[in-house]
């Protein structure tokens, strides 16, 4: 290698692939008409004969899961397959009631795709190998000191989309960026609650290191539930593997867990005790066939994705941090959209910048602190912002006044239809009336001749003092720009 490779760690090239399990937010489970939202449910209350794996129970595919998986596919820059099918994956565990998991092994619903990530200002594409639908298992809990474990089957049958990346990732920072971007994409595609705390997205990282072109033996660290743990697990694994190799030891292919407290991975099981899953096509479910019309209609319903927003917002001269803040805020609350307000100003960069600033500095923090604020529809908010902007343009509203006005509008109990009238009622309007101002200014000049003389003598600061007096006399409502112009005119004509 002639070029310096920025990824090398002590001369070793790390290679990372990530599998991510995304819980889809269908109303009911993947194969049973049972509530899929188990967050507030007592254990084993969201369980039917199908979730329980009773004799004679058969899976019935929830078509909503196909819609969400297809949307996720488009979010991953892919297109759902016309033909896919389910397979059975066999292993014994108490939280897997049937003794097999229904998954897509041979023919997944999504094949190919890519996710763009950006690290230190550099953008790169991470390939997506595939994404397939499968049912989640139940939840086993092993309480310390007890000689038994307990199983909650509420989660059994929750639809998952497992997204498998190509081994295109080469650093902990890239791994974290990929996880973060995947999270944003799933939120934009509106396919998952994507709440990491509730395990709506779980990451498995496959890490290997190598000194040459051949890939090294990999470890798989499973069930990471935060971006930070993805980053730390990769970091730890790279270091651990390089240290082992440097000592002349071998890497064993194994499954590892991550200890959040100690920030380190630990061995769970080696390949020797790996299961033979005995996959075969699920005979209880017909193959999944999606028509082109169906796929096209889903594509048509897709919102603009982050990549497109980034490009148009940066063209409008918003900076990286502002753009990312807007993208993140967009998906934080399901009821408020900022981008659908901002999109109205894409053809006017100046306006867009101003209104984006208001949204970023006023509305977003305000809503974060007061989630109870009423939600106006996007077009009403857009026209309100437009009105405020017009008032500022016309000079009848100061920048300060504009901020106060926006806060007043957002926190008002009623919907404000006439913004201009509302601004004057609230006493926020600026006086730009030349006649009224001229009268006030004439008085001020008469009473402050010292300052007038100073100004005439070249003391530029004196004009500031005079404008200040005008503002005071007008209770702050005078337009300072106009006031200054009138002051100069009057002094010159003295």
């Amino acid at each position: 290698m002639t070029k310096v490779n920025k990824y090398l760690y002590k001369g070793y090239m790390p290679t990372i692939g990530i599998e991510c399990h995304v819980q889809l937010k269908t109303k009911t489970k993947l194969f049973a008409g049972v509530d899929n939202d188990a967050r507030d449910a007592a254990p084993n209350t969201l369980v039917s004969h199908i979730c329980f794996g009773l004799p004679g129970s058969l899976p019935v595919l929830n078509s909503e899961a196909l819609v969400l998986a297809s949307r996720a596919g488009f979010a991953l820059n892919s297109r759902p397959q016309n033909n896919s099918h389910f397979d059975r994956k066999h292993y014994f565990y108490p939280d897997l009631p049937k003794g097999y998991q229904i998954t897509q092994f041979e023919a997944p619903i999504i094949l190919g795709g890519k996710v763009s990530i950006s690290v230190d200002g550099e953008t790169k594409d991470i390939g997506i190998t595939r994404a397939h639908l499968e049912e989640d298992a139940g939840k086993s809990s092993h309480e310390a000191g007890k000689d038994y474990s307990v199983v909650d089957l509420n989660r059994a049958g929750t639809p998952l989309l497992e997204i498998v990346s190509e081994p295109d990732i080469h650093s902990a920072a890239e791994a974290k960026a990929y996880a973060t971007e995947l999270h944003l994409l799933m939120l934009f595609a509106d396919v998952s609650d994507a709440n990491l705390y509730y395990g709506n997205m779980r990451f498995d990282v496959n890490v290997s290191v190598s000194k040459d072109d051949k890939l090294g033996t990999r470890s798989e660290t499973k069930n990471l539930n935060s971006f930070r743990s993805v980053e730390k697990a990769v970091e730890y694994e790279i270091k651990r593997q390089v240290e082992l190799l440097e000592k002349g030891e071998k890497i064993v292919q194994e499954t590892r867990g991550f200890d959040d407290a100690k920030q380190r991975t630990f061995s769970q099981r080696t390949k020797e005790d790996a299961n033979d899953y005995r996959y075969f096509p699920e005979p209880d479910l017909p193959p999944v066939t999606l028509s082109d019309e169906y796929i096209d209609s889903i594509e048509a319903s897709m919102p603009k994705m982050p990549k497109v927003w980034r490009s148009s917002l940066s063209k409008a001269k918003l900076d990286h941090a502002q753009i990312e803040l807007l993208l993140e805020s967009e998906v934080e609350s399901p009821t408020v959209s900022y981008l659908s307000v901002i999109k109205n100003y894409l053809d006017n960069p100046e306006k867009l910048k101003k209104i984006s600033n208001w949204i970023i500095n006023i509305e977003i923090p305000l809503r974060k602190n007061k989630p109870e604020l009423k939600v106006l529809d996007d077009s009403t908010r857009a026209s309100q912002y437009t009105e405020v902007y017009k008032l500022v343009e016309a000079g009848s509203l100061s920048s300060n006044g504009a901020q106060d006005l926006i806060i007043a509008i957002l926190t008002s109990d009623t919907e404000i239809s006439d913004i201009s009238k509302y601004a004057s009622e609230k006493g926020l309007s600026q006086n730009s009336n030349q006649d009224e101002l001229s009268e006030i200014i004439a008085d001020i000049i008469d009473n402050n001749m010292k300052a007038v003389e100073d100004f005439k003598a070249g003391e530029v600061k004196a004009i500031g003092f005079l404008v200040g007096q005008v503002m005071k006399a007008s209770n702050g409502k005078a337009n300072p720009g106009i006031a200054q112009k009138i002051i100069r005119d009057q002094i010159n004509s003295l």
Binding site: L54, P55, K98
Partner: protein
């Protein structure tokens, strides 16, 4: 052997008040009691049956029509999930299992007023051809107590022939309705795959399992199919029923082509059976049917394909019996692994274990392509060959099994010989086509039957032709 009125007539008499459902249920229960020595019945659902009978009688008294099967008692193979008694699939591992829901087929029959009175014996998990694999007892042939009734729906076949109830339900994965119908002497229908919902029936091999009626006459089988069939939201593999239904049948054979499957008439076929079929053929010709010889060279492979695919699916479907949630659980286990292995080792019988081992083997990585995948390819070929055959003929006719009912114990230590009993019945399951057993003769004081097959979804014309054969026999 006692008899019943025709099912439609029974329902009519119950609806017009000339017969009471309660009397019918009591009659059925007392016949079951009297026939205990045949070991046809695993459990009775007496309390619930009487309750339902009273409900139906009350309904009739209130002037309501209580359905096309009002007050008709029936017996379900014990792999149907039913209320009122345990559902065991004749396996120790399900001993003590009380179903919290019922099979869709049972629900449909009950909605028309039928009353389940008992659960019939079977080879455990429907694995077998003689009912000798039941973990509980061996059912006896109603014509000769030293012989098997066939299997796996041996208890259901025996029940109908003994007259314990006007009809029974069976399941057919590789011949389990048709072969016992032939050995015991009743009509047994395996409909087109997917025509009757499998929901609530203990799965054997999901891609092959079919549910069907066992009756004294073809007309009664038609009525029961008409009620049980159709799309069920609980089973994604179900299909719509024929728009004309299955009751008023066209049984005219004039101009109909019936193919005699050459491969079924080789030297292994018992001479008495052959002779009976030859007699039937003469009568069929006289009735205006055209009889042609037809060859399906792929057929000899069907049994091999079946004994790869079926155990593969069996090994998977039996995974849920792990002693953790229902049925038998080894209570002295000290850890999870022991709980699994001991519950399954003690709960499953020999045949279930044999099939789990074969199925696990053919699905293992490294063997999957050589066995499962190749078997699937041959299965596709079988489907195609049957499709082609039905382009030239309306029906295919052949024996149901190479022999009449064999002696109890004759094959029970030779699993391969037992598997060969399915040689003539597995192909329709692999092809998904409907097939029906019709008794045509008695030889050596034992029934002789034929099997008639039709193309997929041609259940209606199949039943029409079957009724003609019944008439001619």
């Amino acid at each position: 052997m006692k008899s019943w009125d025709n099912i439609a007539k029974i329902a009519l008499s119950v609806n017009d008040g000339t017969k009471s459902a309660l009397d019918l249920v009591n009659e059925s229960l007392s016949r079951i009691e009297d026939a205990k020595e045949y070991n046809a019945i695993i459990s009775i659902t007496k309390e619930r049956a009487i309750e339902r009978a009273q409900l139906i009688d009350d309904g009739v008294k209130a002037g309501k029509n209580m359905g096309r099967l009002a007050g008709v008692p029936f017996i379900a193979k014990d792999n149907f999930l039913t209320f009122g008694s345990e559902t065991t699939a004749a396996s120790n591992i399900l001993k003590g299992f009380n179903a919290p829901y019922q099979a869709s087929a049972i629900e449909k029959l009950e909605a028309e007023g039928a009353i389940c009175v008992a659960k019939a014996n079977l080879d455990a998990f429907a694995h077998g051809a003689s009912t000798e694999n039941s973990d509980f007892m061996v059912t006896k042939n109603p014509h000769d107590k030293t012989r098997v009734p066939g299997g796996s729906s041996g208890g259901s076949a025996s029940s109908v022939v003994l007259g314990l109830a006007p009809f029974s339900l069976g399941t057919d994965t590789g011949g389990s309705i048709r072969q016992p119908a032939s050995f015991s002497g009743c009509v047994g229908l395996k409909p087109t795959y997917g025509l009757v919902s499998r929901s609530g029936v203990v799965a054997m091999a999901s891609s092959l399992d079919c549910i069907g009626p066992m009756t004294k006459t073809v007309g009664e089988a038609s009525l029961i199919l008409d009620i049980m069939s159709g799309r069920d939201l609980l089973d994604s593999t179900t299909i719509e029923k024929d728009t004309l239904g299955y009751v008023s049948l066209d049984s005219d054979l004039k101009g109909k082509k019936i193919g005699l499957v050459k491969e079924y008439f080789d030297d292994s076929l018992n001479k008495d059976i052959k002779e009976s079929i030859e007699n039937l053929i003469i009568k069929l010709k006289a009735a205006g049917a055209e009889i042609v010889d037809i060859s399906l060279p792929i057929l000899p492979s069907a049994l091999a394909v079946y004994y790869i695919l079926c155990p593969a699916e069996v090994s998977s479907n039996l995974s849920r019996y792990d002693g953790q949630r229902f049925g038998y659980s080894f209570d002295k286990a000290t850890d999870l692994k022991e709980s699994y292995s001991e519950s399954r080792a003690r709960g499953f019988g020999k045949e279930a274990k044999r099939r789990i081992i074969i199925g696990t083997y053919v699905l293992s990585s490294g063997y999957y392509d050589a066995y499962y995948k190749k078997a699937q390819l041959v299965r596709t070929k079988i489907v195609k060959d049957f499709e082609n055959a039905f382009k030239t003929v309306d029906f295919l006719l052949g024996p149901v099994a190479p022999t009449q009912a064999f002696k109890i114990g004759e094959k029970s230590n030779d699993p391969l010989a037992m598997y060969l009993s399915d040689v003539m019945t597995v192909a329709p399951n692999l092809a998904g086509i409907p097939s029906i057993t019709i008794p045509i003769d008695m030889k050596n004081e034992l029934p002789v039957a034929v099997q008639l097959m039709a193309a997929q979804k041609q259940d209606r014309s199949l039943l029409g032709a079957a009724r003609k054969i019944e008439e001619l026999s």
